[in-house]
């Protein structure tokens, strides 16, 4: 199993949490409030290895957020080690695409910079390409009901995505249109990148530090207190 960290970005109310909930729990809530709750979700998908045609399980660790992006106050922790970013806008609100674009710029700047690149100083810039950015135009269902509501033309978003080398789709969290496909595409892309990395870095030594899993004490003496 391969695990990847995926972060969500975009204006408030564009439907980030709705997309995640559709993907993870297959539910949709008309009355979803601004994100509250356990915004740390995970979901696995299956992809096929293009060479061997074998199934590979990909687990997404999904970081939804709110309240920190509103004033551009995301913590470095949020971006750190992210493998993929889902940048969401609402196709009925033109401004939300502007905001999405500014997040794309910020991501390219910050994640490209924060990647630990001590061992490969000469290929610094390649790190940018390792972050998979997928632009998503949400609420397609609203436009299907009433084409007048569309404020962002599909062609504009496609052109922008091609120029910036992003993945792109229009989706609807409400009708479950294209949601799984978005994660599937990201999963395949991440797998492809990981395979390339493995080929290039076969000789790279793993430092072998061990992380401790906090909820799993090896013993747990609940009778002793501490202060």
């Amino acid at each position: 199993m391969l695990q990847f960290k995926l972060v969500l970005l975009g204006d408030s109310s564009v439907g980030k949490s709705s997309i995640v909930n559709r993907f993870v729990k297959d539910t949709f809530d008309e009355f979803r409030e601004s994100t509250i709750g356990a915004a740390f979700l995970s979901q696995s998908i299956k992809i096929k290895d293009p060479k061997t045609n074998q199934d590979v399980i990909i687990k997404f660790e999904i970081w939804d957020t709110a309240g920190q992006e509103r004033y551009k106050s995301l913590a470095p922790m949020y971006y750190r080690n992210a493998n993929a970013a889902l940048v969401v806008y609402d196709i009925t609100i033109a401004d939300s695409l502007l905001k999405a674009k500014s997040w794309v710029n910020e991501l390219k700047e910050k994640v490209g910079n924060s990647t630990d690149d001590n061992d490969n100083d000469n290929d610094n810039n390649n790190n940018n390409n390792n972050l998979v950015i997928h632009l998503v135009g949400n609420k397609l269902d609203l436009v299907e009901d009433d084409p007048e509501m569309r404020s962002v033309a599909t062609e504009d978003a496609v052109k922008y995505s091609t120029d910036e080398n992003l993945l792109f789709k229009e989706v609807s969290a409400k009708t479950d249109f294209n949601i799984k496909e978005v994660f599937q595409t990201i999963g395949e892309k991440l797998y492809e990148i990981r395979q390339k990395e493995l080929d290039n870095n076969n000789n790279k030594q793993n430092k072998g530090e061990i992380n401790i899993s906090l909820p799993r004490p090896s013993t747990n003496d609940s009778t002793s207190c501490c202060s």
Binding site: D11, S12, S13, V14, E30, F31, E33, S34, T35, I36, G37, A38, A39, F40, D64, T65, A66, G67, Q68, R70, Y71, K72, S73, A75, P76, M77, R80, D90, I93, A94, D95, S96, K99, S114, D116, D117, N118, D119, L142, S151, K207, G208, E209, I210, N211, I212, S213, L214, P215, R216, P217, S218, T219, N220, D221, S222, T223, S224, C226, S227
Partner: protein, 615 residues
């Protein structure tokens, strides 16, 4: 007990929220609109405004947000963490110059040397370093760790083990024999001492119930108790007081110091054969970010680069430097490090913590155990050339923590010594470390089997006690390359303490009752600046004290019901019984003078216990 003026919890608030929602057309986005994009100003009103994103303020923000308060959390800096931040070298440079311009309250005497090898086109990048302003370690059994698990903030963080505690004495480092196994296998300890040491360790785990042993020593020091009652010799006494207890000086009082020693022992073996953890990518700065994120998930709003300038308790309006305003319905909480001019209500910050932080161009792996990347070094009183009266403590963090690049290491030194003497002590400790690391890293390790110990998990470690001895005569040839050296003094209202006590963090009562007409901070609640304590022990208590003032009770402090089940948190009962049994066995072993290390096995069910022989 719930106090009458306790606010409604988040769950209690929700139904009304939904009722309100039902009545309103929903597809209108509430924050973004076509003509009206994002509000550039802060929200119009909030329940609680918290200024400063240090670790205590961040824990408080998350606790309040989960409890149901509408929280606005701001910081005047463009980064998270405030007095607990983890910064890059470039950020430190700016921070130092702001201290020297008197722009940051509670900090003074900052001096920085940074090598030309750190820069955009140089060997090392500024951002490859994460330097803690307030370096700390976390005990495996501690209230912060419990809250990290309960709040699930641990999911945002990565932790590693720290098991090496060196004590510096007679010009060399002695590694702490912190496990029962090591006590028994250490050939240099006479049997009598081993037995006395075990007797003390047994006592200290249960000291409250044996007042007859410690009460006669109440007005004397722990050193006296150890020497007279338990017949321990100086090296063991020092190890217990300074490495295990991590006390500041020899007047360490009873029974608080017993508590400190126990803190170490009960933390040992909770996650494996080590008592302490530290977080990757930085310490308090990372943990602060984790709690801020948790708060945001629970609905708190964040704004960096927002400098608070004044608060009017009558209109309840807080004003920021950029002119924006917010109405604070309940309380304004302010970190002293972000107090504006005319903050006449700020409690006196009269205790100094002197710090010296260095980055050396050496991996210092000699000081780490197995594949760990951190260690603690303690310089007891009078162990240094400077004749230090107070302890100097050091936390060493290597590249495995991702806080510095390969081939480098960060040394954090600090002392509770007050006044200008402190710098002499820090310099003396630094020199001792420098000499020692050169000695240990440039001499070939003698082919002596007893120098290498193989631990249970198969890792071999160097017995640094013996190493220290065999290098006694080594003459310094090489020099340690310093990439970075930073001196600074941080002030706090919290005195050096042995045991956490809520009264230490009580915002001075005067602050909320007095009204000074020209002050900009009337009715503001001040948080405490970080103390000199090496662990995070104060953090939760300091946050709770303020939480209680705002909410009325701390009953529902992080009383969170996550909708989904967390699959990993249900292995408790299993571990509990085993740990207790195992302790009892350990004690029996000792009383029968039977040093059979396999005794603990007789109850079975121990196939996966790591380090089961430890205390």
């Amino acid at each position: 007990m719930l106090s009458p003026e306790r606010r409604t919890s988040m769950a209690e608030r929700r139904p009304s929220f939904f009722a309100f929602q039902q009545a309103t057309p929903l597809l209108v986005p509430h924050l973004a609109g076509i003509e009206d994009p994002l509000p550039e100003a802060t929200p119009e009103n909030v329940d609680v405004l918290i200024v400063g994103t240090g670790i205590v303020e961040s824990v408080l923000a998350a606790a309040l947000a989960w409890q149901g308060s509408n929280v606005l959390h701001v910081d005047s800096n463009d980064y998270y963490g405030d007095s607990s931040a983890t910064l890059t070298v470039e950020q430190i440079k700016k921070w130092v110059s702001r201290i020297n311009d008197n722009k940051i309250p509670c900090y003074k005497n900052a001096k920085l040397y940074a090598s030309n090898d750190i820069g955009p086109t140089c060997k090392y990048k500024s951002r490859s370093f994460g330097i803690d302003l307030s370096p700390k370690i976390m005990f495996a059994k501690s209230d912060l760790l419990s809250i990290l698990v309960k709040s699930r903030v641990y999911q945002y963080l990565e932790f590693q083990a720290l098991s090496t505690f060196h004590t510096f004495e007679n010009d060399s480092f002695e590694k702490l024999s912190n496990s029962k196994q090591e006590i028994f296998t250490n050939d240099t300890l006479p049997l009598m001492i081993k037995r006395n040491l075990m007797k003390f360790l047994k006592f200290v785990l249960n000291w409250e119930n044996q007042p007859e042993i410690w009460e006669p020593y109440k007005d004397r020091s722990l050193a006296d108790l150890l020497a007279e009652k338990f017949k321990l010799e100086r090296p063991q006494v020092f190890e217990l007081i300074f490495s295990i207890g991590l006390c500041y000086n020899t007047d360490a009082k009873i029974p608080e110091t017993l508590q400190r020693i126990r803190r170490f022992l009960i933390s040992f073996d909770v996650y494996g054969p080590f008592p302490v953890l530290y977080s990757k990518y930085g310490g308090a700065g990372e943990i602060s970010q984790g709690f801020c994120r948790s708060a945001a998930v629970a609905g708190a709003t964040y704004k960096l680069n927002e400098k608070f300038v004044s608060y009017n308790p009558e209109t309840k309006i807080a004003t920021f430097e950029n002119g924006s305003k917010v109405k604070v319905e309940e309380k304004l909480v302010l970190s002293p490090s972000q107090a504006p001019e005319y903050s006449y209500n700020m409690p006196e910050q009269k205790y100094e913590v002197h710090r010296l932080t260095c980055i050396v161009e050496k991996d210092c792996s000699e000081w780490f155990n197995g594949n760990e990347s951190a260690a603690v070094i303690v310089f007891p009183p009078n162990s240094l050339k400077s004749g230090n009266q107070e302890v100097v403590q050091a936390i060493i963090v290597g590249s495995g923590s991702e806080c510095c690049p390969d081939g480098t290491c960060i040394w954090y030194l600090f002392t509770t010594q007050q006044g200008p003497r402190a710098e002499l002590d820090l310099d003396a400790a630094l020199e001792a470390m420098e000499i020692s690391i050169i000695r240990e890293s440039s001499v070939k390790i003698p082919q002596d089997e007893s120098l290498v110990q193989v631990s249970e998990d198969g890792h071999s470690t160097i017995n640094s006690f013996k190493l220290g001895q065999s290098f006694k005569e080594y003459v310094k040839r090489e020099k340690v390359q310093f990439l970075f050296k930073l001196y600074y003094t941080q002030c706090t209202m919290v005195p050096p303490f042995n045991v956490v006590d809520p009264s230490l963090f009580m915002p001075s009562s005067g602050a909320s009752s007095k009204f000074i007409p020209s002050a900009c901070d009337n009715n503001v609640i001040y948080t405490a600046m970080p103390s000199s304590e090496i662990s995070y022990d104060e953090v939760i208590t300091a946050a709770k004290v303020i939480y209680e003032q705002i909410v009325g009770s701390d009953d529902d402090f992080f009383d969170i019901d996550f909708e989904d089940e967390d699959p990993v948190t249900s292995s408790n009962s299993y571990g509990t019984s085993r740990a207790i049994q195992y302790d009892e066995n350990a004690i029996e072993d000792e009383e029968e003078e039977d040093i059979d290390m396999d005794q603990g096995d007789k109850d079975g069910d121990n196939s996966d216990v790591v380090g089961k022989l430890e205390i």
